[in-house]
């Protein structure tokens, strides 16, 4: 299925990425921040793709842990890598925007701190996969569930504390001029995330098959 799904997703993401610059350029300038505000179309879209990847990671981890389905574990590895990449996009674009909008690169407020913690957990997940050796897959699944449990805290953090970061409730109130390029970018990031997920999962699957074949060969020899 992946083999047929991937070209479709890749084509779609190409479409979105060709269209995005046009829409972003045509969007009006924000009154106080001007040109800098346009980084928002990457920043927000990056985090949305990261949330998607983390939910895939968490749910795949639960399925693997309780049902022992191998392919769920392969999907979890792929999702964790995507989450790290898109989280990194958010963490890089955030300070670039912040230094213009707030005058500082970084502030240890609730939202930013939670974002870094989540990224750290995901990197720890990848370290575990890399160096844990045999038997670490179930442990990784447990960690994946803990990572997903952090997302709601991250999401509501701007509502509980007064932080420098804008509230989550800003997004649905955006006027159409800003909203269209924003959701277009989000769709683009989500589609490319899905495309890479499917490709990466297939790689993991083939790697597992190769390992099995090696083992079978050794048994025969």
């Amino acid at each position: 299925m992946t083999r047929r799904l991937f070209p479709v997703l890749a084509g779609l993401s190409l479409l979105f990425f060709v269209g995005a610059p046009v829409l972003i350029v045509r969007a009006p300038y924000e009154s106080t921040m001007g040109l800098v505000q346009k980084i928002f179309y990457f920043h927000f879209a990056g985090w949305m793709a990261m949330f998607l990847a983390i939910f895939v990671l968490g749910i795949a981890s639960i399925i693997f842990l309780f049902r022992r389905i191998r392919s769920a574990d392969q999907l979890a590895v792929a999702a964790a890598e995507q989450a790290v990449i898109f989280g990194l996009i958010g963490l890089i674009t955030g300070p670039l925007w912040g230094v213009k909008a707030w005058g500082v690169w970084w502030q240890w407020d609730a939202r930013l701190t939670m974002a870094v913690i989540l990224e750290l957990i995901l990197v720890a997940y990848l370290l575990l996969r890399q160096y844990g050796g045999p038997g670490s897959d179930r442990l990784a699944a447990g960690l994946g569930i803990f990572a997903m449990a952090n997302v709601p805290f991250l999401y509501i953090s701007t509502e509980i504390w007064r932080t420098v970061h804008p509230r989550t409730s800003v997004v649905p109130t955006l006027p159409v001029d800003f909203g269209l390029p924003l959701w277009w970018s989000v769709a683009g990031f989500v589609v490319i995330c899905l495309a890479m997920l499917s490709a990466r999962r297939r790689l993991e699957e083939q790697r597992a098959t190769l390992d099995e074949l090696y083992l079978a060969l050794e048994d025969e020899a």
Partner: protein, 227 residues
């Protein structure tokens, strides 16, 4: 339910008995925590005066470091002569085993914290006895949050290689929120005139995280430990 609690008690009693015979974990953890506080005291106390706000951080770092040491040993002990397999083969609820191990660790950490808190209060001139019950609540909830995740992870890591390195690598990112809340709450509490509403907020947040962590740990312990 009584049977569940019985199992918890049996595991705790087993750990306490092993500990009372060689005192390995208690002595090493305690010594490590004390030397940790000493190192920080050398760094942060200048001319008899502590750097502002350092005390709360030192206290929680000492607890976290010593806790990691204890967590590493807690399940290492079960590896000898395949004791863990015996424990898991016993026809009892797995969550009860988890809770037993967790309770044993909490008891150990309580003793360590008693010494560490007194030391920090002494060396950093922290007003320890202004609000003893709030301090106790912060410490108890913070330690519970840290140890609940730690016990789960160290149990999972028993079968993995390079577990000594991986335990802190996995444990700290997940438990940073708990440590932040502990440090922030303690910091507010140790101000000359503490804002008690803020202390209350940090304490209730800690409680919230504890509930989430403990629920997740109890839920995942069984499938994670099954071969």
């Amino acid at each position: 339910m009584t049977r569940f609690l019985q199992v918890v008690w049996l595991v705790v009693r087993k750990d306490l008995r092993v500990e009372s015979r060689n005192k390995e974990m208690l002595v090493t953890t305690l010594f490590f925590a004390v030397s940790c506080v000493m190192v920080f005291a050398f760094a942060f106390v200048r001319g008899g005066r502590a750097v502002d706000g350092a005390a709360a951080g030192v206290l929680w770092i000492a607890v976290a470091f010593a806790g990691t040491l204890a967590l590493g040993r807690a399940f290492e002990r079960e590896r000898y002569q395949d004791a863990l397999r015996g424990l898991l083969l016993a026809p009892v609820d797995r969550p009860a085993i988890y809770l037993g191990k967790l309770s044993g660790l909490l008891l150990l950490l309580a003793v360590v914290e008693l010494v560490v808190v007194l030391m920090v209060a002494l060396m950093f001139q922290a007003p320890l006895f202004e609000h003893p019950f709030r301090m106790l609540a912060l410490l108890a909830l913070g330690t519970l949050g840290f140890a609940s995740v730690g016990t789960l992870f160290s149990a999972m890591l028993v079968r993995t290689r390079s577990r000594a390195v991986l335990l802190p690598v996995l444990l700290y990112p997940v438990t940073i929120p708990v440590l932040i809340m502990g440090v922030s709450g303690t910091n507010v509490l140790w101000q000359p005139e503490p804002d008690l509403a803020m202390v209350q907020l940090w304490t209730s947040l800690l409680l919230f995280f504890d509930v989430v962590f403990l629920t997740l740990a109890l839920w995942t312990f069984e499938p994670v430990m099954t071969e």
